[in-house]
């Protein structure tokens, strides 16, 4: 004990102790509301039921993967994320680059792209219902152009509708992040490159992208998380059991919770967490490799 306390005699140790004390409430909150529940869920995923508590190892996971509804949900979630996240990153970067250059009404454009963030979810859903209703504005336009109307939410085009919704809602915030990052790129590097004859594309890939890599990582992760949260809008649009392409993992988990199928629910949650960890770890590794030679 004396040795332990003696370790806090010097200033650095006291500083560290002080840091822990200040962090303690947050650590406690994160533990209680995130870490510990995750361990509990993991426990639920390897037992047969809370009533009996018999250890069944991976049976619940096998049962989950065998379930066609889960496979459909996973497939839909993956395909949606694979379409929406790259588009959200690339389009927001392009818009940020566009707004970085000297164009008129730059401020108004920025406000235009940011304004969807202010709209409540329920209002967004209402707007989308009006637009994409079988008798809605989009079908009216199609019919004016001589095409037949489409039952958007109950056809193979329904994911397209939700991708557009996702992009409309999230482009603005991503754009702001990219704009902030672009403004931090050292001007002298770009000027030097320009003097030495580098074109716009060369400057972009050789300099800008490298400096944008941390922001790219963050925006990608953020967009990935937001792609899961699109469940909220989809649920309001289509309910518990939407048509094929809009049935996501959150639908599956929401529905099986009500049926007390907590074993599969827990297994799905653990599986999702593992997949997310793998994806984010991959992104971190890629960012580290790609942006490691960036100054600072």
């Amino acid at each position: 004990m004396k040795e332990l306390l003696g370790r806090f005699d010097n200033y650095r140790s006291r500083d560290r102790l002080s840091g822990y004390i200040w962090l303690a409430p947050s650590l406690l909150g994160v533990s209680v509301f995130y870490v510990i529940p995750f361990f509990i869920i993991t426990y639920y995923s390897v037992i047969d039921s809370p009533l009996h508590g018999n250890f069944v190892f991976l049976d619940n996971f096998i049962s989950l993967i065998d379930n066609s509804a889960f496979r459909l949900a996973a497939r839909n979630t993956f395909s949606f994320s694979m379409r929406a996240v790259p588009l959200a990153v690339i389009l927001s970067l392009l818009i940020a680059l566009m707004l970085e250059s000297r164009i008129p009404l730059k401020s108004q454009f920025r406000t235009f792209f940011l304004s969807p963030m202010l709209v409540p979810v329920a209002s967004i859903v209402l707007i989308w219902q009006v637009l994409f209703h079988p008798n809605g504005a989009v079908n009216e336009l199609l019919m004016i152009l001589g095409w037949a109307g489409i039952d958007w939410m109950q056809s193979e085009h329904n994911q397209l509708v939700v991708v557009i919704l996702f992009l409309w809602k999230n482009l603005g915030f991503n754009m702001i992040l990219f704009m902030a990052s672009l403004s931090n790129i050292p001007r002298e590097l770009l000027e030097t490159a320009e003097v030495e004859g580098a074109g716009a594309i060369q400057k972009f890939f050789a300099i800008k992208i490298r400096y944008l890599s941390p922001t790219l990582l963050f925006v990608t992760i953020f967009s990935l998380i937001n792609s899961f949260r699109i469940f909220r809008e989809v649920y309001l649009l289509t309910g518990d059991y939407p048509y094929d392409g809009l049935y996501f993992i959150q639908h599956f988990m929401n529905n099986i919770f009500r049926r007390l199928d907590y074993q599969r629910l827990a297994a799905a949650a653990v599986l999702m967490a593992i997949v997310m960890v793998i994806i984010i770890a991959t992104l971190f590794i890629a960012e580290h490799r790609f942006g490691k030679d960036v100054e600072g």
């Binding site: 370790r7 361990f39 809370p50 009533l51």
Partner: protein
């Protein structure tokens, strides 16, 4: 080293906390269901047998007065009696000096009495009624059946009187100040404040009563009018509150809350209502308080609470179930000076209502004989279940049932909050011993292994066997060969008609159904007032097995049959205009004006309706159905591909969970619902075979040849004849053929209804609707495989 030490400490701390939390996730059945520290123990006071109704109650420090009424032997007059209950001895004595206020000694009619006690302990009664008189001249020589021509209406009686200790009139309060000049006048309610002023809610037709014809009047001891407060609604209740003043409790419209019950003080100075008292939400009935509480009220269906103005929350007093009081309507609840609670309880049964007086004494739970607790959870507690629990608790010496009514968690914004709470509790391991399965997803609970197979208990029971119950009923409720819930009564849902029209064999499909309709073109309303959505709902509810194979997970809505069903359903009207009985088929409207009041019975008699989808819930309904079709019926069932469109509809249902700590004790409660004695007077058909047979025997017994068995329905005379054995056998066979208990899958029904709506409203073809429904239902079924 230091970093490693900290990390190891953090890991172990986390592991310890995790294990502690996880260990709490085991079954905690009964862990939080200990009895409260105090409960109220009831004492039922016997009432004279002729009493039919208790109409008014008032209490002093040592006596409770109450008014009763019953019809005289000749049925001509309502006999009113006053009684006093001595709180020291619990003995009841009649106030023999009481004589109801009648305009003439031989007047006949009815009288209602309410009462209150003034500050000095004097008993005051309000008597309201209506009387008539047959004034036959002495020289009349005609028969008794001609006396009606001498009928005289003696009008209303409204009197407020003070009675002495024997019940005789001591003072009559004049109401001339209010009633003078009225053509009609009626007193609704009265009360006395601590100053001796009389408050009266009355209705009348003079300007004194204002534009709405009703007002609250305040009279002093000498009957002088002190104040008049206009009252829009004319009803409500006057209540003396703890400070001795009188307040008005009634329905008001409020700009913030809309319509709600509100309690206003009465301001004599301004002759208006004062600012409303802040009350807890959802108060519908209040009772006077005492020095401990300003008022009492019922919280939900099962709790009594006390409330003081200015408090944030009411104070829980008692739960009627925990206090072993049967469910019913509480005519009056009074907090007595000695701390006991007095109540007059009215209960309803098949033969009318009964009353009992109950005195409840506050007692420490620890002082009562210890009994093991059985926990019961319900989404909604009906009266039968509540009473069964009370009867069990009253009679069992070893066990006691404690109830959690999850409907208390529902809110106006979230009607499913109770189910969510129950689901969360089950996941957390808080599992009751007994579940009332009404409104619960029983199939999922069985799949999760949450419920016990009750055949084990039936087979081991000394009194019951599987043959003790009506054949086919519990079989219809089986799942995977097991019986996971039992119920005490049921009805049969089926489609019936005359065998010469529908065919004599039970069961048919859609094609045969449409052929029969086509063969009877004069029957322009073949299925009566059936709409398209009703037809579709019944088809899916009763014929779901043709579209969903739960065993394999196969869904078959994308076959042609379902699209055809949708197209056929579209031929039924969207809704029914009952005024004109207009039948709308797409854009063509065929107006069929009919005499007012005609319904299905009339349509059947006219030959315009040839079948009816019905629920048969007792033998009298069965007799009515046979009579409507001329004594011959075929129980055809709703048209389904499986030709088995009957279903049993169970009333309620109880199950024992696998988490029950004392399964035999839980079964000892469930079996009380299944005995013949408990089911003899039950609503709907009893599941107990002996009780069912007894009811069948009554229905087959000869009836007197008078008009008592002739009913006039929709202008048609329907003669209810005793059922024959052949008719009874047909009905029993229909029960036996029912493939299952109707517990429609609401999710599938909602998906089908939404998809069908798109087709019915012209937003797509039947095939498009079938495609969408197929996709959505497939996902739903796949989730559960």
């Amino acid at each position: 080293m230091k970093k490693g030490f900290v990390r190891i400490c953090a890991f172990f701390a986390l592991a310890v906390v995790m294990m502690a939390l996880v260990s709490a996730c085991r079954n905690e059945s009964g862990s939080d269901n200990a009895m409260p520290e105090f409960v109220y123990v009831p004492e039922v006071v016997s009432l004279p047998s002729e009493i039919e109704e208790i109409t008014g109650v008032a209490a002093t420090d040592d006596t409770v007065f109450f008014a009763t009424s019953h019809w005289s032997e000749d049925g001509g007059i309502r006999v009113v009696q006053l009684f006093a209950l001595d709180l020291a001895t619990n003995e009841i004595s009649e106030l023999t000096g009481y004589s109801p206020h009648k305009p003439l000694p031989d007047a006949r009619g009815w009288l209602q009495v309410s009462m209150t006690v003034d500050n000095e302990g004097n008993l005051w009664v309000l008597e309201t009624g209506n009387f008539w008189h047959i004034n036959v001249p002495e020289d009349f020589e005609g028969g008794e059946d001609e006396h009606y021509q001498f009928f005289e209406d003696l009008g209303n009686v409204n009197s407020i009187r003070k009675l002495d200790s024997s019940g005789a009139e001591a003072t009559l309060l004049s109401l001339d100040a209010i009633s003078q000049g009225t053509q009609w006048f009626n007193v609704i309610s009265f009360e006395i404040d601590s100053s001796g002023n009389f408050y009266v809610i009355a209705m009348g037709d003079t300007p004194l009563f204002g534009d709405h014809g009703s007002a609250i009047f305040v009279l002093d001891e000498s009957a002088n009018l002190l104040s008049t407060i206009p009252s829009e609604e004319g009803w409500g209740q006057l209540l003396r509150i703890a400070d001795g003043s009188v307040a008005h409790f009634g329905w008001f419209f409020d700009s913030e809350f809309g319509g709600r019950q509100m309690l206003h003080p009465i301001d004599l100075q301004t002759q208006s209502f004062g600012d409303a008292f802040e009350l807890p939400a959802n108060i519908w009935t209040i009772f006077p308080g005492n020095e401990d509480f300003d008022l009492l009220f019922m919280e939900g269906n099962t709790d009594l609470a006390g409330f003081n103005f200015g408090d944030e929350e009411p104070e829980f007093l008692l739960n009627w179930i925990d206090s072993d009081v049967l469910a019913g309507s509480f005519n009056n609840i009074t907090l007595l000076p000695d701390g006991r609670i007095f109540t007059a309880l009215q209960q309803w049964g098949r033969d009318g209502s009964t009353f009992e007086i109950i005195l409840l004494t506050r007692t420490r739970s620890a002082d009562l004989p210890e009994r093991s607790i059985i926990t019961l959870a319900a989404l909604w507690l009906d009266t039968n279940l509540q009473n069964a629990i009370v009867e069990f608790n009253r009679t069992s010496t070893t066990h006691r049932i404690r109830v959690t009514d999850y409907s208390q968690f529902n809110t106006s914004d979230d009607a499913g909050a109770g189910l969510t709470r129950l689901t969360t509790d089950l996941i957390a391991g808080i599992v009751p011993d007994i579940l009332s399965i009404q409104g619960l997803p029983v199939r999922q609970y069985v799949a999760r292994g949450l419920l016990l197979d009750l055949y084990e208990f039936i087979d081991a029971d000394p009194e019951f066997s599987r043959n003790s119950f009506v054949e086919g009923v519990f079989e219809a409720a089986e799942m995977d060969g097991g019986l996971y819930y039992v119920f005490s009564s049921f009805n049969l849902s089926t489609l019936i008609g005359h065998p010469s029209v529908l065919g004599s064999q039970p069961g048919w499909n859609i094609d045969e159904f449409t052929s029969v309709i086509a063969a009877h073109p004069n029957a322009d309303m073949p299925l009566g007032n059936f709409t398209r959505s009703q037809f579709l709902t019944e088809s899916i509810t009763l014929g779901i097995d043709q579209y969903v194979d739960w065993a394999t997970g196969e869904v078959r809505f994308d076959t042609g049959e379902f699209a055809s069903l949708l197209e056929f359903a579209a031929t039924f009207p969207e809704e029914f205009d009952h005024a004109m009985h207009r039948r709308t088929v797409s854009e063509a409207a065929i107006a069929i004006p009919m005499p007012e009041g005609d319904g299905e019975t009339s349509l059947i008699a006219q030959g315009r309706q040839i079948m009816t989808q019905t629920s048969i819930w007792d033998f009298q309904t069965l007799q009515m159905n046979f009579a409507s079709f001329g004594g011959e019926l075929v129980f055809k069932g709703f048209p389904t591909e499986g030709r088995n469109g009957h279903s049993i509809r169970a009333n309620g249902g109880l199950a024992i969970t696998t988490g029950a700590s004392d399964r035999d004790a839980a079964w000892s409660f469930l079996r009380t619902f299944l005995s013949e004695s408990s089911q003899r007077d039950i609503w709907d058909f009893p599941t107990n075979r002996a009780a069912f047979d007894a009811g069948a025997a009554e229905a087959m017994a000869p009836v007197p040849e008078d008009f008592s068995h002739v009913w006039w329905v929709d202008g048609v005379a329907v003669e209810l004849r005793p059922l024959t054995q052949a008719q009874m056998d047909l009905f029993i066979e229909a029960i036996r053929l029912a493939p299952g208990v109707a517990g429609w899958d609401q999710v599938i029904l909602d998906i089908v209804t939404e998809g069908a709506d798109d087709f019915f409203s012209g937003r797509g073809s039947a095939q498009d609707a079938a495609r969408v429904i197929q996709s959505r239902v497939s996902i739903y079924v796949a989730e559960q495989s």
